[in-house]
């Protein structure tokens, strides 16, 4: 393999690993160089990611940037990469968020149990796996990344978080491992079935024909193995309880990656694996899943309204948002699918903005209780405005990116499941409450004693938050570049299920 025809996906996975190797040679005392190397690496990966997006062929169907090599031929396992529009958008999100997390967490890495070197090594390894998990077109390879990813996150939470970080890390890991092992059982099932039907492979495209030979019972069981694992990842009520603890205990940067990227693996997996491999079972379980999604939307919102801790608040809002995403996916309409994918991207950035600003606030105030803040609008205007915009994006204010996606999801759902869509709309009302209440408490109102001398954002923090806010605003007004990438892939997934969009009975969906 020569460098010239190195696959861009492989390259983007290789770079962080090289960065980790480089970090190994940096003396432990030289924290600055460590951070610089980490930043340089992640920026480079982001550039590769952008290059990939630019050279992506919108019109073509199927996977692009394909690479396929034998890995364990005895089991038909390949190192096979490729992206469709959905995966590409999520990879783009991951590689854009990582350097921002590096900048924002410049000081986070210092307060941990171990040196910054360990923090950034784990982060870079994690980045490789994040790209890999979205880029795999081999089910086994996907599983390897899916599970192996837990280890760096576990150490990032347990080693660098705050509060009862060890317990939160363990809870996270055990939940995820449990889901992962159920998925392993399904993967074994797929393996044996594909062997039995003559083609021993884990290739996703080939396996998408497997459902024609499975008994409905078998398909349902295999589907559930995957779905439960994904429902734990993208926490769906009632499997969500690990998330608030993990998000609260992790550093803000880790939380950004945890909620912004890792949890997306769950929703991405539902599209790529549940729907593609088990279309019939997906249809069977759709009513149940839509119900769970609606419950998540409302339940997460109610918990968020009651939350006293700002990081838990953000975690609860995410449960609500993941409900929307899941609903959009299982609505089986092209708007719902596109909306859900765009939602994943937008949620990544609005949650990132919230967590980053919350992190800045917490590092100043040394407290994460919402009532400890107050009057920030006067003392630290830039920080307050950033939080405000992030919050508005989270409640899907028109003009900000989340609005487009939430609207699409609701429209897409309404055409097939009007009742669910109408109930879910209440989630938007609740979102206004759970965002506006903390905004009022923390930004406006009288200055809480002890806040008088808080400093506004430093240059580094502004550099970290500026791109996130820009993306939120720009995509709010002009989402079509992303939708152009997403739409063909989303339409393909929906049509593979044998669904066509219901003819619109209302020319304009309601918000």
């Amino acid at each position: 393999m020569n460098l010239a025809n190195l696959n861009l996906l492989t390259l983007s996975m290789l770079l962080p690993l090289l960065g980790t190797v480089a970090l190994a040679f940096v003396p432990k005392t030289n924290a600055l160089l460590t951070k610089q190397i980490a930043l340089a690496t992640t920026v480079l990966v982001a550039v590769v990611g952008i290059a990939m997006t630019i050279s992506f062929d919108f019109g073509a169907t199927g996977f692009q940037f394909v690479e396929s090599r034998e890995w364990i031929p005895a089991f038909g396992i390949k190192y096979a990469l490729g992206v469709d529009g959905i995966a590409l958008v999520l990879i783009l999100m991951s590689v854009l968020l990582t350097p921002i997390v590096v900048i924002a967490g410049w000081n986070e890495s210092e307060g941990g149990r171990w040196s910054p070197k360990v923090f950034y090594s784990l982060l870079l390894v994690l980045e490789t796996m994040m790209i890999g998990v979205f880029a795999s077109t081999d089910v086994f390879l996907f599983y390897v990344f899916f599970e192996a990813m837990l280890v760096p996150v576990y150490f990032l939470i347990g080693g660098f978080g705050s509060g009862d970080r060890a317990a939160a890390a363990v809870k996270f890991l055990l939940y995820s491992l449990f889901g992962g092992l159920l998925m392993l059982a399904s993967i074994v099932g797929i393996f044996v079935m594909s062997t039995r039907y003559g083609n021993r492979t884990f290739d996703i495209t080939t396996l998408s024909g497997l459902n024609t030979v499975l008994t409905p019972m078998m398909e349902n069981v295999l589907f559930l193995g995957f779905f439960i694992a994904f429902a734990i990842k993208a926490p769906l009520w009632p499997l969500h309880t690990w998330l608030p603890d993990a998000a609260k205990s992790a550093t803000p940067g880790t939380s950004v990656l945890l909620l912004g990227v890792l949890d997306k693996v769950g929703t991405f997996g539902m599209i790529r694996y549940c729907l593609t491999l088990f279309p019939e079972a997906s249809k069977t379980f759709t009513p149940m899943i839509i119900t769970l999604a609606v419950i998540s939307i409302l339940y997460g919102a109610f918990l968020a309204i009651g939350a006293k801790d700002i990081k838990r608040l953000i975690a609860y809002t995410s449960i609500s948002h993941f409900g929307f995403i899941t609903m959009g996916i299982f609505a089986m309409t092209s708007q719902g699918m596109s909306g859900a994918t765009l939602y994943m991207f937008n949620h990544g950035f609005s949650t990132a903005a919230l967590f980053l600003v919350a992190g800045f606030m917490i590092s100043r105030r040394k407290s994460s209780t919402i009532s400890d803040f107050g009057g920030l609008q006067r003392i630290t205007p830039i920080m307050a405005w950033s939080f405000f915009i992030a919050g508005m994006s989270s409640l899907a204010l028109p003009g900000l990116s989340s609005f487009v996606s939430e609207f699409l999801v609701l429209v897409g759902t309404f055409t097939r499941y009007p009742v669910a869509a109408i109930i879910a709309t209440f989630g938007i009302v609740l979102a206004a409450l759970y965002i506006l209440i903390p905004v009022q408490r923390a930004l406006h109102g009288p200055t809480t004693p002890g806040n008088e001398n808080l400093k506004d954002l430093t240059l580094r923090e502004k550099i970290a938050i500026a791109p996130v806010i820009s993306i939120i605003v720009i995509l709010g007004f002009y989402p079509s570049p992303l939708l152009n990438i997403i739409n063909p892939a989303a339409a393909t997934v929906v049509s593979q299920q044998g669904f066509s969009d219901p003819a619109p009975t209302m020319s304009e969906g309601k918000k």
């Binding site: 149990r113 171990w114 074994v188 099932g189």
Partner: protein
Amino acid sequence: MITFVSPTLDYALLAPILIVLGGALIGVLIEAFAPRSARAGSQLFIALTTLLLSLASLIRVRSGASTTAAMESVTFDGAGVLLQGSILIIAIISVFLLADQENFTALAAALPGSDEERTSLQQDLKLTEVYPLALFAVAGMLLFPVSTDLITLFVALEMLSLPLYLLAGLSRRRRLMSQESALKYFLLGAFSSAFFLMGIAYLYGYSAAVSFSGIHAAVIGGSGNDIYLLLGIAFLSVGLLFKVGAVPFHAWSPDVYQGAPTAVTAFMAAATKVAAFGAMLRIFYVSFAEAYWQWRPALIVIALITMVFGSLVAIAQRDVKRMLAYSSIAHAGFLLSGVIALNKSGLDASIFYLFAYGVATVGAFAIVTLVRDSAGEVTDLNRWSGLGKRSPWVATAFAGFLLAFAGIPLTSGFIGKFSIFSAAYESGSTAILITGVLSSAIAAFFYIRVIVLIFFKDPVEDGTSVVIPSVYTQITIAISAVVTFALGIYPTPLINFIQSTAQFLR
């Protein structure tokens, strides 16, 4: 009049076993004649050379195949080569641990607490008998999985067991506990040997043969009395299941794992498992395959109980060696699914699993030998807390081995688990797959708890420290770690080799 037919032996194929026996005998001679001061060095050298020579001779004849390597008693085939190779590699890396004489009592014959013991300790005597004993055990282990008649199988069983009984009692610290464990091991072992012999008797009664092929012919012929076959398989299995530590024949293993010197535990836990499972695979695949409806349901139940029991009880353990013992019980359950699978993929998967698990086990116990206070090894898990702070590399390596036991991807344990479960499922055993996956989840819990303890808890100030590993121990840990991760990242060469080689000749 009985005419004596002199046996024809294929010395080239038997060489791996014979070389190890020869090395062991030389070791005994050195004990007898060499001056005390020269023994430690030369014994290590001889043990290592012997094992390497044996491995070399095994590699030389790797493609050989014969059902009559020693008349009908020994069969040399692909599976045999792989199993013997695994045993030898595990023995080579664990022999370095034996070199760390801190582990062993100075004078095995001295009563604990006696004057004799004190003087022997003051004189700084070295217990070099461990090398020949270990070599005898290795020879037995090499013979065990290639034996193809029941008598030879029994001889091999005793040959590997007797030295291990002795070795288990040689710990320097907590000698009473060590001796107690040795006695327990011996008594229960003798008991299970009796069952084993009983099984042989029944099988002979059933088939009028002691050779595996003879029993196989009788099973196919179906003219014998099935009751005797059933009893024979049952009793024989008791002996084998005892050796692999399957529930309900596991009672010895936590005590012996804990009481034996850790270097011995490492060797025993890893190599005995390979040998015993090797023999079990052979006899079930070769002799009893066609009678699977007789034994498979019972073995499935045992496998399920073993997995669940091992994983559950391990949670409650506060001693690292006992925890690893229960974890090895759980792994015995996983390995039994390879026997139950009764197909080619089950055989391949079992051999891969045995090798991967054995190497990781040696590595994990090697690290246990490093965590000490002034009174010797510290095995109380609570005192391991904060280990990651004091010695990050040792802690990281230990965590790596635990992750391999837990079957996390990119470690050898994951590939092993995947292949063995898929083999079991391929053979139609859904229960094994589901239970295996669930008990893996339980098992993950206690492995992770240990990782939390060593990384996320603060160190206790009670003089527990990690000693600088001797060169020997470093070699052991390094090889084990490299193999564990290499097999997780790129297992293809080994899997392909196993797939093309592993088969039993009948």
